[in-house]
Amino acid sequence: MAKAKGKAGAGLFSPHIHSPFSVEKVMWDVVIALIPAGIAGVYFFGANALRIIAISLVTGLLTELVMGILSKRGITIFDGSVVITSLLFAYNLPPAAPWYVIVFGNMFAVAIVKWAFGGLGYNFMNPAIGGRLFVMIAWSGVMSGRWSPTIRSFMEKGMDFWQASQAIVSPEMMTSASALTVLKIDGYAGLYKQGLFDYWNLFIGNVPGCIGETSVLAILIGFVYLLVRRVITWEVPVIYVGTVAFLSWIFGGLSHGTGWFTGDALFHILSGGLMLGACFMANDSVTSPLSFSGNVFYALMLGFLTTMIRLFGGYPEGVAFSIAVMNIFVPLIDRYFRPSLYGYRRAVLKKARES
């Protein structure tokens, strides 16, 4: 920006006062809102979760520092946005993720997805989503075949926190698949057999999965905080999750032979990365539409895509992919979904012409 701005912002222009709202406040509020999910990650996945978060943060901050200086925007690490990206990226990794996946994945997220067009505000895709897709493609084995049970299940068998933390990343332990994978392969019967089909455990996050996405409870705490602080609005998360619930109720039973309207909506919205994606990534302000109607459309489409991929696609999970696709359509959505303007209602204009 700033071609015309030099003249326009000369200071003589109204308004002369400004609300206390600022980019920093918005961003750090999101960081605060992400803390519960991180705590839940450490609680269920032990020291590994902490290791992933730490490595991701250090990588992100260094990358942001370098990119900010290289692109002459100065030191941008204090605006908090890179902390959000690093946390979200870490939350999207399985507990056994090796260090190079974390480092290169987050470097990709920050340096390429966020900074290719100029950093915060100019990214066309949510950086953490971009990073997740990148590691899913580059190290697909790591990302799909290594789900570990939570350390809670080991601690119940008498291990302490550290032993259990070690246990869940040892190769022989990594047998358990995530709930959605099991559903995909074995149907609901498989879920019952594996003992994964427990709404309470899905809700608190005591199930295999990525470190920050399993605990719906922790994510909702952060979500409500952001709503109360008026940092986000309700429409994208609520409509997205609602659409997934509705569509998976209609179609969810088809692939298991139970017919229409037999899908388990509650299971679908509690499992996988849906909650984290809906509450923290799909509604990222930079990469979601501007207008209310645009956001409604965007969220409906997200719900549709996610459910279709989950139920009929080749992957058990479709959140990241759906968000990436819809992010790309945002400029188009902005063009066609605008708020209605004052004084343009047809009746208003007609009356004016008549008189």
Partner: protein, 444 residues
């Protein structure tokens, strides 16, 4: 205020800045007459007036010294008696290289209110010309010549009169005081306007509920009358914007590019109503106006009646200014203009002088838009301010005009809320000017 009273508000957007109505309890007092006044010939929307006097002339208080030129223009009068010492070109806040008549104060004062002229039997035409004679313009800030507003084009029937007492700008309290102190005058002015426009069926007085005493005062005053109603308004900026006020009270929208008269509505500011009263009943031209002189750290903040042409420096001498301040604003902080020079005089549009402290002052930052959509949420028109600003910044003004650039009322709600502190209104205004210049060039 009666709890059961319905509270009106506009339908969409709006912000609620700190009210800072420091001077709400201060009655209006007369300011000292300055030793010298500087009266610009452009104090209204439309063509500047033509100077009628020359250097050395002796002028009387209330004498016409500038004549309206063209359809939309207003007369200008000497605000003091004295001698014209200079006619010079200078800048006002809104126009460059305008004729200023400088008068050295001397001689006697006229007692305007001592004499009352009967008006009840005058025709609509005669009443309008009294208003025109007096050079009355909209005192809320828009300064549209009032006599033009009171003569709607043929075919347009005004049925609703709305008095604007919203005063939604922070700091300003002059309309609040007017409502309390000049209610009889305003009531008479309502009768005058109804005589001019006999089609008016319903009169509303819109007052924001942060002025509870004014609402109570008027409710009591109008007890038992059904033709004039007090409309309490939610305290929400820009409640006093003409389009927003009309929507709040009548539910109707002014069509784009249209006028309130298109939907049968006339809006007048309460201070303007008082000026209409003075023009018709006392034959007093608009030579002084009430304004709020305020700000944190001002020695004597208050509501003052000030002669048009009084240099700001004179007010500063009388009432002080804060030791440290970031900006001196003419009007309110949301829509007012910064005063770059203390020699600039008070004019017909000066509803207040506000000193903003360095903490309050809004600093533009070169930050990217984070697309938070807050600006969309607060825009009372339904525009996408971030898009408009981006287009204007890249000189894509035709595209901006296509998505409502000229519907922006420049209320500033968007720039106020923006977390990236982008000068959205500045850019939008720049876009408008650029577009007009481009159109003018294309015509040549």
């Amino acid at each position: 205020m009666d709890k059961k009273q319905k509270i009106f508000t506009f339908k969409r957007g709006g912000v609620h800045p700190h009210e800072n109505k420091l001077t709400a309890a201060q009655p209006i007092v007369n300011a000292d007459v300055p030793p010298l006044v500087r009266i610009p010939m452009a104090q209204h929307l439309g063509a500047p007036a033509k100077v009628l006097v020359s250097v050395g002339d002796e002028v009387k208080e209330g004498q016409r010294i500038g004549e309206a030129t063209g359809m939309i223009s207003a007369h200008i009068h000497a605000s003091v008696s004295g001698v014209v010492t200079a006619i010079e070109k200078a800048n006002t806040l809104t126009a460059k290289q305008i004729d200023f008549v400088v008068i050295k104060t001397g001689g006697s004062f006229h007692n305007w209110v001592g004499e009352k002229f009967p008006w009840e039997n005058l025709s609509s035409q005669q009443l309008v010309s009294l208003v025109q004679e007096a050079g009355v313009v909209g005192l809320g800030g828009a300064t549209f010549p009032t006599h033009v507003k009171l003569s709607p084009p043929p075919g347009k029937v005004v049925e609703t009169l709305i008095l604007n007492g919203a005063e939604c700008e922070p700091y300003l309290t002059i309309d609040h005081r007017m409502l309390l102190e000049k209610s009889q005058e305003i009531l008479t002015a309502i009768e005058i306007v109804r005589r001019i426009l006999p089609t008016i069926k319903k009169v509303y007085i819109g007052i924001e509920i942060n002025k509870e005493d004014a609402i109570d005062h008027w409710t009591a005053l109008l007890a038992g009358r059904s033709d004039i109603t007090v409309a309490p308004l939610k305290t929400r900026y820009p409640q006093g914007g003409e389009k927003q006020l009309i929507q709040a009270i009548t539910g109707k929208e002014v069509p784009t590019k249209g006028l309130p008269a298109d939907i049968g509505v006339l809006v007048e500011n309460v201070s303007t109503m008082n000026a209409i009263y003075e023009a018709v009943v006392h034959h007093k031209p608009l030579i002084e106006r009430g304004l709020t002189y305020t700000g944190k750290g001002v020695a004597k903040p208050g509501n003052y009646k000030v002669r048009i042409g009084t240099p700001i420096s004179h007010l500063i001498e009388s009432y002080g200014k804060p030791e440290k301040f970031a900006a001196m604003i003419s009007g309110g902080p949301m829509m007012g203009l910064e005063i770059p020079d203390e020699n600039i005089p008070v004019v017909k549009s000066t509803s207040g002088i506000v000193f903003l402290s360095p903490q309050e002052d809004y600093k533009v930052e070169d930050r990217p838009c984070i697309r938070c959509a807050k600006c969309l949420a607060v825009c009372p028109i339904g525009l996408m301010p971030t898009e408009l600003a981006k287009l204007a910044d890249n000189f894509l003004v035709e595209e901006a005009a296509g998505i409502g650039l000229f519907d922006c009322i420049e209320c500033g709600a968007c720039a106020y809320i923006c977390p990236s502190k982008i000068p959205l209104v500045g850019l939008i205004r720049y876009g408008k000017e650029f577009y007009k210049r481009k159109q003018a060039q294309a015509k040549k």
